[in-house]
Structure formats: C-alpha cells, structure tokens
C-alpha cells in the first residue's frame, strides 16, 4: 500500500511538472536557420520619415557556388525608429531579423549633424538584443552607400570587419574605437564628448565581382524610385558639396581623410580619422593624424606611426608606442590649468640618418606632437567638445557628490589653459644600418 502510494505520488508530481512545462510551451520556437542576421546597421535621414535604416544581412558562408555565393544582402526602409524598421523590413523577407550579431551601427552625416544619434540610441535597444559592444561609426555621406561599399570578396565575413577595424585602431591609432556601451556612459554619466571612427564611401574604387553580384541580387531598398543614373549623379553632387555645406575637418586639412586618399583597389568603403561630437551632435571631423594625437593624450593609443618632418625638409617615419597611461594634473580655480604628462617610446625607422643625436631626435618628436596636440585641443575647446575627458579628472578633485553636482564644469572647461609635456624615449642607435 505504501509503495503504491509512493508511486502514485511520484506519478502525480511528474505529471504536474510536465503539465506546467507544457502549458508554458517553448520560450522561443524559432530555430537558428529561421533568422537573418544583421551584421551592420546604417542610419540615414529619411525623406518621409525620421530615419532611413539599412542593414547588411549575412546569408551564406562562402562555401556554396553560383548565385548562392552572395554573402550579404543589403536591405533598407524608412521608419521612425529601429523597431519600426525591423518590422517593415521583415515584411519583404522569408525569415525574421536577428540583431544579436550586429557588429556596427553606422550613422550618416545628416543624422549625426541633427542629433539623430541620441534620438535613435535612447530606445531600449536591449529588446532588439543588439549587443552593447557593437561599434558606432560615423560616415561622410550616406550610411547606405557605406554599407554597400564594405561588401567584397576580400572580406566574406562582414562580422570580421569589426575585428579588423578594432585591430586597425589598436595598431595605428588612426581611428578610435567606440562602442554602444561607451555611448551610454557618455549619455547617462555625462562623462565626455564622443569621438566616432569616420568612414567614407568612394565610388571611384572599382567593385569586385562578388560585391557587384550582391548589389544586383539583394538590391537596395531606396526610399525613392530614382534611376541608377540619377542616383549616381546625385551622389556625386552631394559628395562634392559635402566639405562646404556640411561638416568638415575642424583643422582645415585634407590629408589622412577618408575618401581623399588616392588609392587603387580594396573596399569602396574606408575608415580613417574620426567624427567629433559635442552633446551627441557632430560638429566636425579630425583627420587620422589628429585622431592619433587625441588618442595619445586620452591614453587609448597603443602603437602607430607618424611622419615626422625634419628641419632639412625630409620626412621620416617614426614608430610610437605608449609607455604608460598619461598623467593629468588639473587645478581648478579662477583660471583652471591642465597639464598632460605623456610618455612614449619611439623608434625611427631610418637607421641611416646620423645627423641627429638621440636627444635631438627626441626633442623633435616631442615638439611635433606637442604642437599638434595643442592645436587639436584649442580647436576642440573652441567648439566646446571635451573629447580629451578632462571632466573625468575634474570629478576626482571633489570629495562630495553634492559639491561636484553643484559645480559648472562646462563653463570651467572653456577657461582651461592646457600644457602638454610629452616625454619621448628613443630606441634609435645611429650605428645600426638598414641592412640589419
């Protein structure tokens, strides 16, 4: 009797558990192959709605032949926000969209200028499962063009682009790396102004066959019904007018800017330099060299090369690497003063140069970087952009939260006098030759 009761009890418990589970049903009934994975999202301004959202969907794995070798599909639609865009794009796809593999969100110039970045990213992106380490990028021109330009046989896996760009940033310092998570920090913690990597689409670079196929099949769901010719003409017109009517390099140079470099081959889209923001609006661009200096001062620079002009007119390559984190001394008061102490290792890539001693060369490099840092800082300060994160140093000077919250940092920032002390340690032996 006891055993039968015990057995009946076990059956009842198992039945109840099964009933509970079955009544809840599967949490999600979609399988891995029922999704299309958006690897890059592009945001531009729309004609009839706030945004034009375009996406690159990763499809194949490159193992198939023929038409199935198309690796990415480029889709887009006009919408008021990302949620609406996802719903509208799915109406024309045989699968659901999955944004959990999104590597980058690219903002077009017009959106970045009019504050659309904050407007778009203030939504609950967690509901779309967008990962917080997705990189943010700003482009000169339209993001949809940029998305079309990054498809290539050179890079079958668009998601790997993220890795390569982050790696490029680490190796050269010519572009910054900025993630969605850092954006939230700057929004909610008001920590510093943001610096996004800058991209550009160059139509003059010849497409390879794979990206041509991709363009034919996937197509771009442009909001207007313009012909291709009209579109390319419009694109040329916009491009030529961009530096004059829209944002520009804040220091007025054109070297090391994306789209300005004469090159042959590679992706149609390239990244170089950065977009400078103040209160989440684009205020201008920094070219690659100025971006490098900003990263050196911020302590985000690992290694890279500069082209150092010598007094005799010659330009040489110098390899730099960070020695330690920069130290910042900030004195607040009537006239705030900030001193950046930076230490770098340097290696001159031309061992045949013997006319300068180590100490001379160190001074040359130090002065060059100091001058560049000063001009960038003054330009940013004039625009009110605290991209050097002085605010993060200022907060450390306060003992109480209430004191800090009562302090007007923005006003103080405008008055800060800055000095850069850049110590360069040269690993350069004139007795070595280029034979070794």
């Amino acid at each position: 009797m006891k055993r039968s009761c015990s057995l009946l009890r076990k059956i009842a418990v198992a039945g109840l558990s099964l009933a509970m589970l079955l009544s809840s049903s599967c949490i999600s009934s979609k399988s891995i192959d029922e999704y299309g994975y958006a690897t890059v999202i592009g945001i531009d301004s729309g004609k009839t709605k706030a945004f034009f959202v375009s996406m690159l969907l990763q499809r194949g794995n490159g193992a198939e032949e023929g038409a199935e070798s198309d690796l990415c599909t480029h889709v887009g639609v006009e919408s008021e926000d990302l949620f609406e865009a996802v719903g509208l794009i799915e109406s024309s796809l045989p699968f659901s969209l999955n944004l959990s593999r999104t590597a980058a969100i690219v903002f077009g110039e017009d959106i970045a200028l009019n504050g659309g970045v904050e407007q778009l990213l203030s939504a609950s992106l967690g509901m779309l499962n967008i990962r917080y380490y997705a990189n943010l990028v700003s482009v000169r021109g339209r993001a949809e063009d940029f998305l079309g330009g990054i498809q290539s046989e050179l890079n079958p896996n668009v998601a790997k682009l993220q890795y390569s760009f982050v790696d490029y940033s680490r190796r050269t310092g010519l572009i910054p790396s900025f993630t969605l998570s850092e954006f939230f920090e700057s929004t909610f913690a008001h920590s510093s102004d943001i610096l996004l990597p800058l991209g550009e689409f160059n139509p003059e670079i010849k497409k390879d066959s794979a990206s041509e196929n991709g363009a034919k099949d996937g197509g771009r769901n442009n909001s207007s019904a313009e012909t291709e010719k009209e579109q390319s003409e419009k694109g040329e017109k916009e491009k030529s007018s961009q530096p004059l009517q829209k944002a520009a390099d804040i220091l007025g140079s054109t070297e090391y800017m994306p789209g300005q470099i004469k090159r042959l081959g590679g992706l149609q889209a390239s990244m170089l330099g950065s977009g400078l923001f103040h209160k989440h609006r684009l205020i201008g661009y920094l070219n690659g060299l100025h971006t490098q200096v900003v990263l050196i001062v911020k302590g985000q620079f690992e290694k890279g090369r500069i082209q150092l002009p010598l007094p005799n007119g010659r330009i040489i390559s110098v390899r730099l690497s960070a020695q330690s984190q920069p130290k910042i001394r900030l004195i607040l008061g009537e006239t705030p003063k900030a001193t950046f102490e930076i230490a770098l290792y340097a290696n001159v890539e031309h061992p045949e140069i013997r006319e300068y001693s180590n100490s001379d060369m160190e001074i040359l490099i130090s002065e060059f970087l100091k001058k560049r840092a000063e001009e960038v800082f003054l330009a940013c300060q004039a625009l009110g952009s605290d991209v050097f994160e002085l605010r993060n140093t200022a907060v450390k000077l306060f003992r109480r939260t209430s004191d800090w919250e009562a302090f007007n940092w923005e006003a103080a920032f405008k008055e800060v006098a800055v000095a850069f002390e850049i110590a360069v340690y040269l690993d350069y032996n004139p007795s070595k030759s280029s034979v070794e």
Partner: protein
C-alpha cells in the same frame, strides 16, 4: 468433398487451440492485481529427516519425482557390511569417482562401523568417509538443497542426521579474461559462473585472516547461493548489517544473476544510475574490499556487486591504479571530459541554436544555416532523432554476432549518416555533435552508467529545447540536486565531493600510490584513520 464442406459449416465443435485459463480465486483488483500482492515464494518448513533409511528413501523418491526424474540417484548399500545406508546425489552434478572411491569404497570395508549403535552418522563422517568437506544435517530442505547443488547425502539406519559431502563436479567455464572490462596493464582474470571459483579468485588476492566470505541462501525458490565478502574489523558494521538486512528481505521465485539481487535490494528503483558497482574483475572487487566495502557474489553469475558505490567509483577503472600517475591522471581527465561532453554538449548546442543565436559566432551560424537549408525536421527533433539512431546502431552492433557486428557499426555510421545528410533528413552539424556525444559516452567505463548518461542527455536536450540556457541550467541543477540526494546503502552518491570527506586522494585526478595506506573515509570504516 461433401464431408469437408459440411464440416466447414459446423459451428458446434469446441475450439481445440490451447488456451491459458485463469485459475486464480477471488475477485480481481481494479488494476488486475492479485488479491495478495506479495505472495510468499518459499515453501513451508518440512519435518526433519527420519532415522529409517526406508522412509528417507521413500520421501526422497516422492519429493524428487524419481519416477519421471531419472537424474536422481539413490544408492542403497551396507556400511561395514551391516548397517543399511542410502546415498543420494544428482547425476551430472556429483562426481562419480569421488562417490565411488571415497564414499562407497570406504564404506564397504568390513567392520568399519562395528559396535557403533549411536551417532552413527557422526562416526561415519569422522572414521569412514574420506572427504574434505562433510557436515551433519537433519533439515530436510537443506538436505534436498545440498543434493540439488551436487553434494551427496548419505543416510544411515538409526540416525536421523544425514552426512552431506561436497562431491560437486560439473562442466563449467574456465577462468578467462574479463569480457567487458579489458585493461592494457593489469590482471586479465575475470569471474566465472561458479561461486567457489570466484571466491578462490578473491582469496588469491586477499590473503588475510580477516577476509570473510559468508555463504548463504539468496532467498529464491531456485536455491541459489550467494556470498557476502568483506574484511571483518575494517568494514563498517552498520553497512554490513544493512547489506544483510536487505538480502534477508529477498523472497522471490528465482534469482539468475546478481542483477536480480541488485534490483531487489536497491532503494531507488527508478534511478537510471546504479547504486552498486557491478564488475567482472576480481582485482577490482578485492581493491574495494580492502578499502572497507562489501561485495556480494551470486552463484551462476560472472559479476560481483560491490557496495556502496559512488559516482567516482563507477567512473574509475582498475587500470587507473596500475599505470603511473601522469598517465592515470590524463586517462581520468579524458574520461570525465568525455562524459561531460556526452551529457552536456547536445543540450547546450540546442539551447544556443534555438534561443541564444547571438552566442554563436557568425561563421558557425552561417555554416549551420547552410547545412540546414533543405532539412525539414526542426532542429530539436533532428537532434533527438539522431540520438535515437545512434542508440539503434549501438544496440544492433551488440546483438549481431561477431565480425558482422563491427561491419554493422561502420556501415551504419558512414553510409547511414551520409545517406541521411544527402536525403536532407539531418544536417551535418547536428550529426557531428551527436557523434561527438556518442564517443564521449563510450569513455564511461560502467555500462549501466553509460545508459544512465543517455537519460541525462535526453533530459537536457529537452530542457534546452524548451527553455534555452534557462531550461538547461535549471535541468543541470535539478540533476545535481537529484544526484546529491541519491544514496547507495546510506552513502551519498557524490562522496567525497559532496559531502566533503577526508581523503588525500583526489576524486577525479589520480592520487599518489603511497597514499593507499588508509581505508576510504566515506565508508566510516572501523579500522579508523590512524
């Protein structure tokens, strides 16, 4: 012709097909149970044997149905030429030469029992019969059981006690290598079906005076004997009493192997995991007995049951101790990793594929999508289907004899798998996961534990299918809770990890051989730790 036609049209003849008719009395239960759920299987106690040889002969003839059972040999003779006696044995079970040379011939010398009026059986046992093993018995059931075993019972006129002598001799398998527990380094002997031989195999390893082998009736109607083996003074008395108590509670119709004993004495009958270690190797049994465990060996079964058993006992092999420490460690690590992969990998993959695609890299996602392009089964069903096919192949390989079995495995694996992928029934990625998982199962040394792993794997696949990593982790925790609450003869199944007990030897890695100076702490041996 006419007759056959008419016969076809007849409907009044009884059906001559054999039918097994119900003969139980009383009203059957609602679920068709017998009125008495647990009917006693053993017979009522019989009257002791008689002093009269004639009566004993008659009784034996009746009980053994000698008119239709020609195996029973009842030999009347006169001991010392004067005293009537009767020898009873079973043809084919008792040794003819032993009976002839050491019982009958010894008895037939004139005057051997001269002047013996009382205690004739005892006198004959001490002075006449030249047998190594002899005892006096008047319990009729025991006398019959002894005869059935192959011993010879000799009744003497005027004494109710019979002399039981060990004359067993029958065909049996030779001691050979253990079939299912092969090792590269170490003893190659395995148990056989004969209980005595098995005990001798143990005694050759444990040559101590405290090594006890208690022979007793298993408690079945087929009168099978079993042995409880342990070291007195080392084993925990409570454990021993518990083993004996559970064995005493056996009251069944038949016991054919130690598997039946295991099932009748375990507490968690629904548990996929066994609660005793079943092994063919005498060295393994001896090692456990030396550590304070108890072993039960059943006559007719080439395996011994060692209790208590923990998960780590089931996951170890005797070879772990025979090889050097680095080798033993890597073997164990590979084994545990294999078991882990076998149980966890399919469920983990299903969770990610169905609920957490973001955790997979883009390359893997693309590959899975490409491989599943035309597959119509949902991925969860596909996984379960493939797991089932793998089990099918495994069972088929076991049942099909000899060389065909190996070919079956190869054909099944390669051809069937390839064909299934080509027919878009399954995808290559899922096939690989199932194959890996299957390989992992084979690293588990104990067969019962291998089968238990199938249950766990299926449970986690379903949990992952329904609830993603939430279901998977809840399932893992539920399994963990169940495992820690499982007990083997009072010992928690995950000792010495949970609960943590004193042990210099690690549970998973191979410890140092010099640390084998103490019995295992978790059995609470009487030997103590000093």
């Amino acid at each position: 012709m006419k007759k056959s036609v008419f016969e076809c049209l007849r409907f009044d003849e009884a059906d001559d097909q054999f039918e097994l008719l119900e003969t139980e009395e009383g009203t059957p239960g609602f679920f068709n149970r017998w009125p008495k759920d647990e009917a006693p299987q053993t017979k009522p106690i019989e009257a002791p044997s008689s002093e009269s040889v004639d009566e004993n002969e008659k009784r034996l003839k009746k009980d053994f149905r000698s008119d239709i059972n020609p195996d029973v040999l009842l030999r009347r003779f006169l001991i010392g030429g004067t005293i009537p006696a009767l020898a009873a044995c079973l043809n084919g079970m008792a040794s003819r030469s032993e009976i002839n040379d050491f019982i009958l011939r010894q008895s037939m010398f004139k005057g051997v029992m001269q002047g013996v009026e009382k205690n004739r059986a005892k006198y004959a046992m001490e002075h006449v019969f030249a047998q190594q093993e002899a005892e006096l018995e008047d319990d009729w059931d025991k006398i019959k059981a002894a005869v059935c075993e192959g011993r010879t019972a000799v009744f003497l006129e005027g004494d109710s006690r019979a002399v039981l002598m060990d004359t067993r001799s029958y065909e049996q398998r030779e001691v050979g290598a253990a079939q299912n527990e092969k090792v590269i380094r170490g003893p190659q002997e395995g148990f056989v079906e004969n209980l005595r031989t098995n005990v001798s195999l143990l005694r050759r390893i444990i040559k101590t005076d405290d090594f006890i082998c208690e022979f007793r009736d298993a408690g079945a109607m087929n009168n099978v004997m079993l042995v409880i083996a342990y070291r007195d003074g080392v084993v925990n008395r409570k454990l021993l009493l518990e083993v004996k108590r559970r064995l005493n509670s056996i009251n069944t119709r038949m016991i054919l192997s130690d598997g039946t004993i295991e099932q009748l004495t375990e507490r968690s009958s629904l548990s996929p995991l066994p609660q005793v270690l079943s092994t063919e190797r005498p060295d393994r049994v001896a090692a456990h007995i030396m550590q304070g465990h108890v072993a039960v060996i059943c006559d007719g079964s080439p395996t011994a049951s060692v209790m208590p058993a923990t998960l780590f006992t089931l996951m170890s092999t005797s070879e772990d101790a025979y090889v050097r420490r680095p080798l033993g460690t890597i073997l164990r690590v590979v084994r545990y990793i294999g078991a882990g992969v076998s149980i966890l990998l399919p469920g983990y993959f299903i969770s990610l594929a169905l609920h957490h695609q973001g955790m997979l890299s883009t390359e893997v996602i693309s590959t899975v999508i490409a491989s599943r392009r035309m597959v119509y089964l949902p991925i969860g069903l596909e996984m379960i289907f493939l797991l089932w096919v793998f089990q099918l192949l495994r069972e088929a390989g076991l049942r099909v004899p000899g060389s065909i079995g190996q070919a079956m495995g190869i054909i099944g694996g390669l051809v069937l798998g390839q064909a299934a992928v080509a027919a878009n029934m399954v995808s290559t990625v899922v096939l690989i996961f199932v194959a890996l998982s299957g390989m992992g199962t084979f690293t588990i040394p104990d067969h019962s534990t291998q089968v238990a792993a199938e249950y766990f794997r299926l449970f986690l696949v379903i949990a992952g299918w329904l609830g993603g990593l939430l279901g998977f982790s809840a399932g893992m925790l539920a399994l963990g809770v169940w495992l820690v609450s499982l007990k083997s003869y009072g010992l928690p199944f995950l000792s010495p990890i949970a609960p943590r007990t004193y042990s210099k030897q690690p549970a998973i890695l191979r410890g140092n051989v010099t640390q084998h100076s103490r019995a295992t702490d978790y059995t609470n041996p009487e030997e103590g730790l000093s």
